[in-house]
Every structure is written in C-alpha cells, then in structure tokens.
C-alpha cells in the first residue's frame, strides 16, 4: 500500500500526485498542513523527512522524501510500460535527469516567487523572477525546436516521461508568482499537451485541459 504525505497547495506534492495518477496507482493520503499549521516542522514528520520536506512517499518498507526521487522510484517500480523512466536508454536517462534538475531550479525561483506573493516568504523576489524567466526561455527554445522536429515532450521520445511531470507544476503556476508566460508560446502549447496526458489530474489553481484534442495517447 502506497501512502503519500501531502499538502494540496505544494507544487512538489503535486508532482507526486501527478505521477501516481498517470501511473494509475491507488494510494492513501495523509494531510500535512504546511500552512498555517507548520506540521512539516513537527517531531513526527521530521522523523519521516529529516529535511522537513514535503512530500513523503511510503511504499512497503521504502520511505522517500524528495519529489524527484519519488518520481524516479514510482516509475522504476510501478511502470510496467517502462516509458516514464526509459532505463534502458542511456541518453534518455541522462535527459530525464537533466530536466529533473531544471524542475528543482524552477522550485527555487518560480516557486519561491509564488511563496513570496502568497504566503509572504522572505526572498529576493526580483532575482527569483529573473532566474525563472531564464529557465522559461531555455525551456521555450528547447520545446520550439522540438516541435520543428516533431517532438512533443521534453525528452527525445515519442511519449512523455517523468521529466514532463516534474517540470509542469512550477511552470503552470508561475503567474501566481508574477512570472508571466506570455512570451513563451511553445511552453504554453506544451502545458496544454501535459494536461491532455491520460490520467492527468488538476489541482487547486489549475484547471483541466480543454477537449479540443484527444488525450494522449491517441
């Protein structure tokens, strides 16, 4: 039985919920109130997650407290198709890992700007936004050239990977941190494609995709 220690409004938690959903896994949720309860700082939670990070995933005897580690584990353990983390292809494994790194960089820039705006977290919001724009520009160029080559996803495969799930949340929520996506049309087209992945779940603040095109896979 899989248990996710989860906070609805956290984008890292949302990455884990997305992965569980697209993999079609059943799990139970334990609410950990990040705000205002600061439950992630309690003794019982620190025992699970020494860095007081959300989410935490427990599966049988495994406990993991890092969003990207959770995605890697879920795909490696529970994806019979082997597509979400294509372990047999060294190039794809490298690409996936590179984009997981970008998702962390987004969390500390676009995500930090969002926490500054909504919960008043102290951060240099001008620097955080500038960094987020650098990342979005890189992402937009990569996706635009990919589209020219007939590639729809972050990695050079004809299907999405956990990289798409990891990068999506902080991109899709960036406007709440004052980071507009108006200048990144290829990014906007890609977020629409992610919303049409079979099994996609929205979260508070994000709405489901339109039915303009068939869900993926077609």
């Amino acid at each position: 039985m899989i248990t996710l220690f989860d906070y609805e409004l956290s984008s890292d938690c949302y990455q884990a919920r997305l992965a569980l959903a697209v993999l079609g896994l059943h799990y139970s949720r334990v609410d950990v109130e990040f705000y205002p309860g600061r439950e992630h700082e309690t003794e019982w939670f620190t025992e699970l997650s020494p860095l007081q990070q959300l989410p935490v995933l427990r599966d049988e005897h495994t406990t993991l407290y890092d969003a990207q580690a959770i995605l890697v584990y879920l795909a490696a353990r529970h994806d019979a198709t082997g597509t979400w983390l294509p372990r047999r292809d060294p190039v794809l494994v490298g690409e996936v890992t590179q984009w997981l790194g970008l998702s962390r960089a987004l969390a500390s820039s676009a995500g930090a700007a969002r926490l500054h705006e909504s919960l008043g977290h102290v951060t240099d919001v001008t620097a955080a936004r500038a960094r987020a724009h650098t990342l979005l520009r890189t992402l937009d160029e990569h996706l635009w050239f990919g589209e020219q080559e007939g590639r729809s996803w972050l990695c050079a495969a004809d299907h999405p990977t956990i990289a798409d799930l990891a990068v999506f949340p902080d991109v899709a929520l960036s406007e709440e941190g004052g980071v507009s996506r108006i200048d990144y049309p290829a990014v906007r087209r890609w977020t629409d494609r992610v919303k049409r992945i079979d099994g996609f779940v929205p979260r508070s603040g994000l709405f489901p995709g339109g039915s303009a095109a068939a869900p993926w896979p077609r």
């Binding site: 609410d31 705006e117 406007e175 508070s204």
Partner: protein
Amino acid sequence: MPTPPCTDPVVLNLWHPLSAVAETAAGQDHTTTLLEEQIGYAWSPDAGARAWRTGATQHQLPTLVRYGYIWTSLGTPPKDLFSIPEYDEPDRRNMNASTIGVHVSAPRAIENFLDMAHFPFVHTDVLGSEPHTEVVEYDVDVSAERDEVLATRCRMFQPKASASSSAGAEVEYVYRVPHPYCSILYKTSGDDPGRKDVIAVFLQPVDQEHVRAHLLLSVLDDAHEDKEIRNFQQSIFGQDKPILENQFPKRLPLDPRSETPIRADKSAVAYRRWLSGKGITYGVIPAGR
C-alpha cells in the same frame, strides 16, 4: 509628516486587519504593509495589540482585537467593528483558514466572494456542478440603519458544500457586506441544517491592486480536525486565486456602464452603488473618470 500614499478619507478611517492572532508570535515585533505603508505590530496575551508606522514607534495607531485578528486604522476609525454575533456561540469552531496574498484589488475580491454564478465552473464538483448552473432569483437589500449590503435567499446545488458534507444538497446562503473590504457569508451547516456556518473574508489592502486575504471560519463541525476544515477552504480559495488575478482592470470600475451585469450580479450591482455612495476612491475606478 509626509502625505500618506492613500488619501481616501473613507478608507483611511476604516479598521483594517493586519494578522491572525494565532499566527502572531507573542511578544515579538512584526511588520506588514497596509495602504502602501509599512506597519509594525505586536501582540501578547497580557498587553494586547499595538501597532505603529515603521519609524514612528512612539506614535501608536489605534488597535482592536476582533474575531481572532489584530485590526488597526490609519485615520479616525469608528468605535467598534461590525458585529458577527455567531462568533461568540460556545459550540462554534473559530479559526483563520489562511492569510494569502492576492494580486487583486479588495473590491474585486469582495465581488468574487459574493458571486455564486462561478461555483459550477471554478469549484466544479465541490461548490457547484453542471447542469445546476442557474443562479435563481435572490433578494438584495442595502440597510441604511446598519450601513451594509445584505443578500438573502441565495440557493445553489452543491456536490460538497463543506469539509463535513457527505452528499450533494441544495444549500442556502446569506451574504453581508458590512465594510467596503470585508464580507461575511452564512451557509447551511452540514452538521446542523437548522443553523448556518459562517465564513468571512477580511481584506487587508496592501495597495490598490494587492491584498492579503484573511479567511475566518466559524463553523459547526464535531467530526473534523482543524487542519481538515482549513484544508477544504484553502483548496477552494486556491481555485479562486487565478480567476481573481486575471481580472482586468484590477481596480473595480464603479461606473454602471463600464461592465455589463447580468441578473445574477444583483448583489455586485448593489455593492458597487453602495461604494459609490460612500465616495470611495481607493481600489476602485470611480464613476465619471
């Protein structure tokens, strides 16, 4: 003293919320922004609340502690705040669901709070669902004596009206707007259909286009933990947030010709007229400009 950034006397003389007492570490100084000014505040169980303009600590601002929040004013406020009698009922659970910064003017946020027509589309399968999208006729009254907007007989089919609901039900709402930037709603309680849960939004105007939204819950619920009740409301508010932040213009236009209301907007029409009558200029686009 330099001229304050906000020169609207109506707004300067109001009480404004600064923070939930439960989220204010006792005995320490805190700062926040109110009407574009840096305000320091502190609270302790013995000394109560204090507030001051940063850099003018010797000059105390008036304070109140009501409904679990610290309130202050930058002008000459009325003696007391509007009344919420239900708050003192002994079996109610009172708590701050969240204080969240939103890039919107206070009056736009009040209008969203009053609006039922968006429930099926924004709070799908929670506060509304298709095909139950009609906002049936309701009553709006502006009480001259209490100086507040009152909307009654508001009804909506809700799949999941609160943390304590197990099935869909038609829920009746009453809305009060007793303060230009504060509103209170009463909705049929899931636990006790003869009584109503109270949810209030108190908007702290950071500037004309930013607020901190303080969300008070005063509910009848014996079954759920505080965090479950808050989580439900935080998710709802998270759905409203991008809608609020994408409204344009961000300040609320008061000219009746500037936006086109429909019948379901009756309470918003009354609210705008009420604001115009007060001569309010902060956070709005006054008529005729």
